[in-house]
């Protein structure tokens, strides 16, 4: 009986694999895995592109404030995870950010600082909180989160810069169309999650 149990236990142990929070880039871990994370998770990508397009539609000073808020909230989110706090609902918050930012980019009314400031802060925190890596050690976790934060910030900044430099009529229209696509995708998935 003991032998059978031992065989069973051995079989169970051999069949197990490591628990993984985010298996988006197998074989790539640490800082570089973190860098890839926002680019490979569709919801993160939607939110970052939508937020970047909207921030880029703001004037120079508010744009800098919004980018600063986004960076600060990313850092705060990283600190929360490294401090071993777990937060649920970050994935839904990311979709809300994508929907609102995409809609605002489609409408092209950048003067809503009362909306864009808190949204930038929520976006940064939610992206960081939804990027919990599979790493076990504190150092590896921090490196992966740092990579995700750097990639997320660069993505938003690049999209904002692109929006600033795209001044021709057709380019502005393309940004608005992209915003409407992002909002539509995010709204549909949010509805799907809330309904099921």
């Amino acid at each position: 009986m003991i032998a059978r149990c031992a065989v069973g236990a051995a079989a169970l142990l051999m069949a197990t694999t490591s628990a993984r929070a985010h298996d988006v880039a197998s074989g790539v871990g640490g800082f570089y895995g973190g860098l890839l994370h926002p680019l490979l998770v569709p919801a993160h990508m939607l939110a970052l592109v939508g937020l970047g397009l909207w921030i880029g539609q703001h004037a120079s000073r508010p744009r800098a404030v919004l980018l600063g808020l986004f960076a600060a909230s990313l850092a705060a989110g990283v600190i929360v995870i490294v401090s071993a706090f777990a937060v649920t609902g970050a994935d839904d918050a990311i979709l809300v950010v994508a929907a609102v930012a995409g809609l605002a980019a489609a409408i092209a009314r950048p003067q809503w600082l009362l909306v864009s400031a808190p949204l930038s802060a929520i976006a940064g925190a939610a992206i960081a909180l939804d990027s919990v890596p599979q790493e076990i050690s504190m150092t590896a976790t921090f490196l992966a989160l740092a990579g995700s934060a750097v990639a997320a910030f660069l993505m938003v900044m690049m999209m904002a810069d692109l929006t600033v430099y795209w001044r021709r009529d057709w380019q502005r229209i393309a940004i608005r169309i992209a915003g409407s696509w992002i909002a539509a995708s995010a709204i549909l998935v949010l509805a799907l999650r809330l309904a099921r």
Partner: protein
């Protein structure tokens, strides 16, 4: 008995796969979403007709319709997801091809708001059909992004072809395309579903 139980347990465990937060394949979900409107001929002709009509109407309709359509389509999609019934969805989709095709073929130029309302009304039918078929799961984001982008790309195809209307021969080609779309819509209406 215990040995059988152990064998069953081992079989179950061997068949298991690791739980992961983001299980969806970016490429698979996205391509599945792209394929949904592209491989539905009734969706394709209606989307191309929206672009053709926008190009025919000129600015600002040429860019307003592609911005408005996905947003209204998302509203229709939400109705489909939460289970709000819309009668005769497939008839509405086929009807959109007939009406929009005729608008192009007959060179109808209504006020912008009326064109927007008409296209928006049809967008609800298309969105409802997409929403009802949206797959649950982690790759729903990639899937929905795929079909929204594919829908937009079909609009852009229509707009690109519709820009030929600047020339007399091109105008005839665009009107002919509108007529062909209306005919295709009639076939979808009377054909088996």
């Amino acid at each position: 008995m215990n040995a059988r139980l152990a064998a069953c347990l081992v079989t179950f465990v061997l068949a298991a796969s690791p739980a992961a937060a983001h299980t969806g394949s970016m490429a698979g979900g996205f391509l599945g979403g792209v394929a949904h409107p592209v491989f539905g001929p009734d969706h394709v002709v209606a989307m191309v007709a929206v672009g053709l009509w926008g190009a025919f109407l000129g600015a600002p309709a040429i860019w307003l319709l592609p911005v408005v359509f996905p947003l209204v389509m998302a509203f229709g999609g939400v109705l489909g997801i939460v289970g709000v019934p819309i009668p005769a969805v497939e008839t509405g989709i086929a009807g959109s091809a007939v009406v929009l095709g005729l608008m192009v073929a007959l060179k109808v130029r209504p006020p912008l708001w009326l064109a927007g309302v008409l296209v928006g009304a049809f967008a609800i039918f298309h969105g409802h059909a997409h929403g009802a078929e949206l797959p649950a799961g982690a790759d729903a984001v990639a899937y929905s992004a795929g079909f929204v982008i594919a829908t937009g790309a079909l609009h852009l195809c229509g707009i690109a072809f519709g820009l030929l209307a600047r020339w007399p021969a091109g105008r005839l080609a665009v009107q002919t395309a509108g007529g062909a779309i209306a005919l295709a819509g009639i076939v979808f209406l009377i054909g088996p579903r």
